[in-house]
């Protein structure tokens, strides 16, 4: 064993702590009202996918994933739709770029962009350029 292994055996865990930066309490209801008013809210974040997804769940930007049983209970068409939604509602910017492909001026990428935008609510690990790209594409 590496030197100092004995020292590790003497260590006692005193405690553990975590930090959380919670969303403001009004945000969830505001997002809900935006939906009622016909607005779609999307979040473009520099945070990691897991962090962004957790925040999005907290404020109701995305829904809790279905349990396996609930998913199996869907019709085949609904299942396909659900899987598409799962795949595109939260994305990392790099994956988003790869999926969209090239320039939004071209018909292929533009169609893919429109399809993804139907589902996309959270873009994680994004650069400032992604914000511009998305708002110009919408």
């Amino acid at each position: 064993m590496a030197g100092g292994a004995q020292e590790w055996l003497d260590i006692v865990l005193v405690g553990a702590f975590g930090l959380q930066d919670r969303a403001r309490p009004q945000v969830a209801s505001a997002i809900k009202h935006c939906g009622t008013a016909g607005m779609t809210v999307r979040m473009i974040s520099g945070d990691s996918k897991k962090t962004a997804e957790a925040v999005a769940l907290e404020v109701g930007l995305i829904d809790e994933p279905l349990t396996q049983e609930a998913e199996n209970a869907l019709s085949p068409v609904e299942q396909r739709e659900y899987q598409e939604k799962r795949r595109y509602s939260v994305m990392e910017a790099a994956d988003f770029d790869a999926e969209v492909g090239g320039d939004l001026e071209k018909p292929g990428p533009a169609a893919k962009f429109a399809m993804i935008m139907k589902h996309l609510r959270v873009l994680a690990r994004a650069q400032p350029a992604h914000k511009l790209r998305i708002l110009k594409g919408l």
């Binding site: 403001r24 945000v27 209801s29 473009i44 650069q127 350029a129 914000k131 511009l132 708002l135």
Partner: protein, 68 residues
């Protein structure tokens, strides 16, 4: 109805997007560059204000269209 894109934010990374959005909203606590390029500044620093802004905007728009 044509869709419009509003962007909220406050950091340097948001400046470009706020500038090019149909409606750019900067947080009052945000950096001055973001506030300078924005159309509107949310002094309350609260996302809920975005909703109120849209509500008032629609309200005024409808009132003016009735008058015309």
């Amino acid at each position: 109805m044509a869709r419009k894109v509003a962007v909220t934010g406050g950091s340097i990374a948001d400046v470009d997007a706020i500038h090019h959005a149909d409606v750019g909203l900067a947080m009052g606590s945000g950096c001055s560059a973001a506030k300078n390029v924005s159309d509107m500044i949310l002094t309350a620093d609260d996302f809920e204000a975005t909703l109120r802004a849209v509500m008032w905007g629609r309200n005024i728009y409808h009132n003016v269209s009735r008058f015309l």
